[in-house]
């Protein structure tokens, strides 16, 4: 189990855009103006916790500047938190533990002039492999990712898609226990997305724990067992993909009735959309707090002639918008 526990991290403004490691400006949220902070201090992480169990894929979601990259860098030991800790199997992570992590930074990172095979083998050795193990594993991964023909080419001569595959090989070559991937899907074509998805699924099948950040929420929904949504360095929603946000997930009901529900439905239910279609009313109703779809269906059946009721599945995108915009 890989756990980030109660991480806090601030950057000075000058360092913030740089410290968050991005060309994007305005990374890290400005501290709430309580007067307790100097105005130049940016809070990147504000008590963030998350955990990744072996065999699970965790999606790490948040708006730009929410602190995802900072959290991942701290997990890898590339950055030190101001407070909080990174635990592996309940103990503070050691550098030996971290050699067993695989990492794919957001901006990618390979030596442009180094040959593909040399590069992957070098990284495998830095992760603790012997020269022979490194060579063998490099060959396997390049083969598996379909870039073995480019083994002796310089990285800069590869297409972007192939560079991404090499980058993935770099993260996987040492058979990591935990994979920490910052925006692994960004810039991939649909085939690349499939390759990446397959590789992540099989890594998890072999017992690895995976956490990746992404803005492609339908992908996160499809691939992940769990999702963590953060905003301004804090977790605002977390849980299994199917249960995320609890009641929020089934807060709307689509109904088919013989009469206009706006007339007979109790006022606690907000009818957001109603139209008559072939003599029947099709409507969408927002449920009040504490009322689930089943209770709402019973209530509607008591008050009117309910022909059909279907809970509306809220997509991760809807949840994301809701929790991040709050």
């Amino acid at each position: 189990m890989l756990e980030l526990r109660d991480l806090r991290k601030t950057f000075r403004r000058a360092a913030a855009s740089a410290g968050a490691g991005s060309r994007k400006k305005g990374r890290g949220q400005a501290a709430p103006d309580t007067g307790a902070h100097e105005p130049e201090v940016m809070v990147a992480l504000d008590g963030l916790s998350l955990s990744v169990a072996p065999g699970r894929i965790v999606g790490f979601v948040g708006a730009n500047g929410a602190g995802k990259t900072t959290a991942m860098r701290i997990a890898l030991g590339v950055l030190a938190p101001d407070s909080g800790e990174v635990l592996v199997d309940g103990r503070p992570a050691t550098s030996d533990d971290r050699r067993g992590f695989g990492y794919m930074p957001e901006e990618r990172g390979l030596y442009p002039k180094m040959r593909v095979g040399d590069q992957i083998a070098y990284l495998a050795r830095l992760h603790g492999y012997s020269a022979a193990e490194a060579e063998a594993s490099t060959g396997r991964w390049l083969e598996r990712l379909g870039v073995s023909a480019r083994r002796d080419d310089r990285v800069e001569s590869l297409s972007l898609g192939n560079q991404q595959r090499v980058q993935l090989a770099a993260a996987l070559v040492h058979h990591p226990r935990f994979l920490v991937l910052d925006e692994p899907f960004s810039g991939l074509d649909p085939i690349g997305v499939d390759v990446m998805s397959d590789v992540l699924r099989s890594a998890v099948a072999e017992g690895a724990g995976v956490v990746f950040s992404s803005h492609q929420l339908e992908l996160v929904e499809r691939l992940c067992d769990e999702v963590v949504i953060i905003r301004a360095g804090q977790v605002v929603a977390a849980g299994a993909v199917g249960e995320l946000g609890g009641s929020r997930r089934r807060r709307r009901l689509s109904m088919l009735t013989s009469e206009d529900p706006r007339i007979w439905l109790p006022s606690a239910y907000a009818v957001v959309d109603a139209s008559i279609d072939d003599g029947r009313w099709r409507s969408v109703v927002e449920l009040p707090d504490g009322v689930d779809a089943a209770a709402a269906t019973r209530a509607a059946a008591q008050h009117g002639d309910l022909l059909e009721a279907t809970p509306i599945e809220t997509s991760l995108t809807d949840i994301f918008r809701e929790v991040v915009a709050r």
Partner: protein, 395 residues
């Protein structure tokens, strides 16, 4: 996964992997071959050119009734004073034409010396003495002295002994030449390989590979590996240049092998290592503060200026090695890195100044390396506008 844990124990220090990568990747780079070949090419040209234009000893023709006696005497005097000349046996009918045509350099006639433009003062002295001696012998013979009396009179005059109060040893000029070449090559190596460290640091930042690396090793290991790997390659190249250059110089007779020369060479290697440790750490610290190669020049300029200052200091040391200020500046780091080899090669170094220079340089290296490690650790992950040194050192 278990393999990772087991082999983590047995892998060599991570800095060794980094150093090996730096050494091997750069060894394969075209610029390494080009710089090696260019340096060797320049060296060969510098060594061989004087040989190509060397004309040998001046040739002298003698005319007139005393030609035989004067030429014989001139040869004796030349030999006694270590002056080389060759005597042209071709008959000279027109002395002026002969020197204009370049058949001979000097024609000695009963009326005087005929030359094209001017005459070497040493040669003039030899020929002048020879003509005077022949005339003296003639006069003494005419005055009725016997050959024995004349010989003893000439011999008692003998050569006037010279007492050199501050003798320049015989190797002085070759030492100067070696010292100059060593200084120029060391300067090139320090700047070239120091800059390689700098651009390597920026390459890792610009390509973001540094993030992947720092997920497995500490910044200090990365810095140490980079400096040591590139430094090792610089030393290998320096040794190759030295072996080829000195081999050629000794083979063609420009340089005579001696213990002093060997010591000067080893000293140069040692000072390369000391100087490189200082400059490479400085270049790495400067480079860690920027994220793009375009910004690199600004942050390395102070170091470049130091190196250029040291180079001129070393040139000054070649010509005025015993001056007070040269002696003082030559022990101050980092000037010592280029000035000490120059002083040692030219024979102007004193034992205490060598020891002091080494001690001060080691102290400066310790300071520079720890400063560099701090700056590097704090700024290597900060991508964006160049950081000021103050920002880089702040927690």
């Amino acid at each position: 996964m278990s393999a990772t844990r087991e082999t983590a124990q047995t892998q060599p220090g991570a800095w060794r992997l980094v150093a090996a990568r730096e050494f091997n990747e750069r060894r394969k780079e075209r610029s390494f071959y080009v710089s090696t070949l260019v340096t060797l090419g320049v060296l060969v040209v510098v060594l061989l050119l004087p040989k190509l234009f060397e004309s040998g000893p001046p040739s002298v023709a003698f005319t007139g009734p005393e030609a035989g006696a004067v030429s014989e005497t001139a040869l004796q005097i030349a030999e006694a004073s270590g002056f080389e000349l060759s005597i042209s046996v071709d008959p000279v009918t027109d002395p002026k034409q002969a020197v204009v045509d370049g058949n001979v350099d000097v024609v000695v006639t009963p009326d005087g010396l005929v030359v094209k433009e001017s005459i070497d003062p040493g040669l003039q002295a030899v020929l002048d003495a020879a003509v005077r001696q022949v005339r003296t012998v003639d006069a003494l013979t005419e005055a009725g002295l016997s050959q024995e009396q004349i010989q003893s009179a000439l011999a008692s005059g003998g050569a006037v002994p010279v007492l050199a109060v501050e003798p320049r040893d015989a190797e002085a000029s070759q030492r100067q030449g070696f010292a100059f070449a060593a200084t120029a090559i060391l300067y090139g190596q320090l700047l070239g390989y120091g800059f390689w460290v700098a651009s390597g640091v920026v390459e890792e930042k610009a390509s973001r590979v540094v993030e992947v690396l720092l997920a497995t090793i500490r910044p200090r290991q990365l810095l140490a590996g980079k400096v040591l790997g590139i430094g090792a390659l610089g030393l290998v190249q320096l040794i190759a240049i030295a072996v080829v250059g000195i081999g050629i110089a000794v083979a063609i007779g420009s340089l005579t092998w001696s213990g002093a020369l060997g010591a000067a060479i080893l000293t140069s290697f040692a000072w390369f290592l000391l100087g490189f440790a200082f400059y490479a750490a400085g270049y790495a610290a400067g480079a860690a503060r920027v994220s793009r190669q375009e910004d690199l020049q600004n942050v390395v300029t102070p170091l470049n200026l130091m190196a250029i200052g040291s180079f001129f200091g070393a040139i000054l040391a070649l010509n005025a090695g015993d001056s007070f200020w040269v002696q003082v500046v030559s022990v101050i780091p980092p000037f010592s890195a280029l000035m000490q080899p120059s002083l040692i090669a030219s024979g102007d170094a004193t034992a205490w100044s060598v020891v002091l220079a080494v001690v001060l340089m080691l102290a400066a290296i310790v300071g520079m390396v720890s400063l560099a490690a701090r700056v590097y650790e704090r700024s290597v992950l900060r991508i964006g506008a160049p950081l000021s040194l103050k920002e880089a050192l702040r927690d």
